[in-house]
């Protein structure tokens, strides 16, 4: 039960003033600009855009600055901001086969058309702290270049599908459900599940994806392909009646290839788990793909007893804005609630004491 309580305005405003001071830190040091965060904390910006479910690098960087680097708080700020804006419409579905690639790798084929392109990756670094970065004012060394032909980079899933070894995805051009407009209901369609996972908490997705690998869900996944790069977004404004390209966004896509032992109606074949996220977020895209495949257990007629296969459990707990709201609301005054609990406990104790005394007499 909540009761309106007045008071504490002075304390609150003093607390916020101190928050502002601590955000700035030592004033002998230069203040971080939003542009610096956007450029040099690029992966934090990507995560906030993904979990805030709003692609705008400047806004995400501003949110990170305001939140003092607390990325969940920053995603919360971005989600709150987006509610102030009108919706102009929806884009045409991204044709990720046409994205401009910075990185494209496959763990299933060594030699595949288009090749293994590493891009700017942490993979194969030694994970030793680089103290040279502590010295400021050094320019990064020039990046090597090589002649290129990045055309003809087919999807790994398509190569397998042409052989009949990869299940084709369902394709009916109906309007997908939208969690920003309708609340979740069960069973949830795959489009709604994917929307939920795309903006889910990275730590939650990672842990669930990990659990499917460790035996909670009987997955044996391979990374068919990871693609990182940029893609143009197209919309068809009603006043124009034809599609226009409104600019590029960064995305990461993961196709996870999984065994499927077949059913009465379908032969044994591979199936997909799919991950697609804003920005450069491979861990996030891979985790999303693992959990997507986990949640497909029921439609594929598999046992669904592991946590990552429980649709309600996963979809109701993936959103870190909702989760942090409910966990952190426990900090708010519960004085009346607690008074009643206290009263209750005292009554029980008194009754017990009376009983004890009567038994002794």
């Amino acid at each position: 039960m909540y009761v309106a309580v007045k008071g504490g305005e002075k304390a609150t405003s003093a607390a916020h003033a101190w928050l502002d001071e601590t955000r700035r830190g030592d004033t002998a040091l230069p203040e971080l600009s939003v542009a610096q965060i956007e450029q040099q904390m690029a992966l934090a910006v990507d995560r906030v855009m993904a979990e805030g479910s709003c692609h705008d690098r400047f806004l995400a960087a501003l949110a990170i600055k305001q939140a003092k680097g607390d990325l969940i708080e920053a995603a919360f700020l971005l989600r709150a901001y987006r509610t102030t804006l009108p919706r102009f419409g929806a884009s045409a579905p991204l044709e990720t086969s046409r994205m401009r690639l910075r990185r494209r790798i496959s763990a299933t084929y060594k030699d595949l058309p288009g090749g293994q392109v590493l891009g700017p990756t942490f993979d194969y670094t030694h994970r030793l702290l680089d103290f040279a970065l502590a010295a400021e004012g050094r320019d990064a060394p020039a990046t090597p270049e090589a002649p290129t032909d990045m055309t003809g980079v087919p999807r790994v899933t398509e190569i397998l599908a042409r052989e009949g070894l990869m299940q084709r995805e369902a394709l009916n051009e109906s309007e997908p459900g939208d969690l920003t407009r309708e609340p979740l209901s069960f069973p949830a369609s795959r489009p709604v599940r994917l929307q939920n996972l795309a903006r889910g908490d990275e730590g939650f997705l990672l842990a669930l994806g990990y659990s499917t690998q460790r035996g909670y869900g009987n997955a044996h996944p391979f990374v068919g392909e990871i693609r990182v790069g940029h893609i143009g977004v197209e919309i068809t404004p009603p006043e124009l009646g034809f599609a226009i390209d409104i600019g590029d966004i960064g995305i990461t896509e993961c196709q996870m290839v999984n065994q499927f032992k077949g059913s009465r109606t379908e032969p044994a074949q591979f199936t997909r788990g799919y991950g697609l996220v804003f920005g450069h977020g491979e861990r996030r895209a891979m985790s999303m793909a693992l959990v997507d495949r986990g949640l497909r257990a029921r439609e594929l007629g598999e046992e669904a007893d592991a946590p990552a296969q429980q649709e309600e459990f996963v979809l109701y707990h993936s959103d870190n804005i909702e989760a942090t709201g409910f966990v952190e609301h426990l900090k708010l005054p519960h004085y009346v609630d607690f008074q009643s609990e206290l009263e209750n406990l005292r009554t029980i104790r008194r009754a017990a004491e009376v009983e004890l005394r009567e038994a002794a007499e």
Binding site: D56, Q116, T143, P237, L276, F278
Partner: protein, 136 residues
């Protein structure tokens, strides 16, 4: 529009400043920022799903008999206005060729070069596998 949408406000302003003055323009719809829901496809080629939103700014401008519309990613009002103005002016047969030469083509070339540079950097990270010959 693809080229104008990818140019920065500063680039558009520089290109416009170098042009002879355009006819008087009338704002039909002042720049307004909103959201577009970006969609993906399950498995890359299956059912559409809602990935998340992005900020977009739109603007409409009348220039003589022509109406220019702009929808550009981001929240830059000045950029949306200049893109709408150019969209209107480009529909004018008398202005079209000169504007293509002075504005659109140089911006397109710069954007193409930036993409080519990125592609060359990516190509330098392509792995060349080699197999160790068995010694016997």
């Amino acid at each position: 529009m693809a080229v104008l949408a990818r140019a920065s406000a500063a680039e558009l302003a520089d290109r416009l400043a170098a042009l002879p003055e355009l006819p008087a323009a009338e704002t039909l719809r002042a720049p307004e920022t909103g959201l577009v829901m970006v969609r993906g496809r399950a498995g890359g080629d299956g059912d559409a799903f809602n990935l998340g939103e992005m900020t977009v700014t739109r603007c409409a401008i009348r220039l003589g008999a022509h109406i220019g519309h702009a929808y550009v990613a981001g929240r830059d009002n000045a950029k949306a206005r200049m893109a709408a103005l150019l969209d209107a002016a480009l529909q004018d047969g008398l202005l079209h060729d000169a504007l293509m030469r002075a504005v659109v083509e140089p911006l397109a070339a710069a954007q193409q070069e930036a993409r080519a540079l990125e592609a060359r950097k990516a190509a330098a990270t392509r792995v060349d596998f080699f197999t160790m010959a068995t010694m016997r």
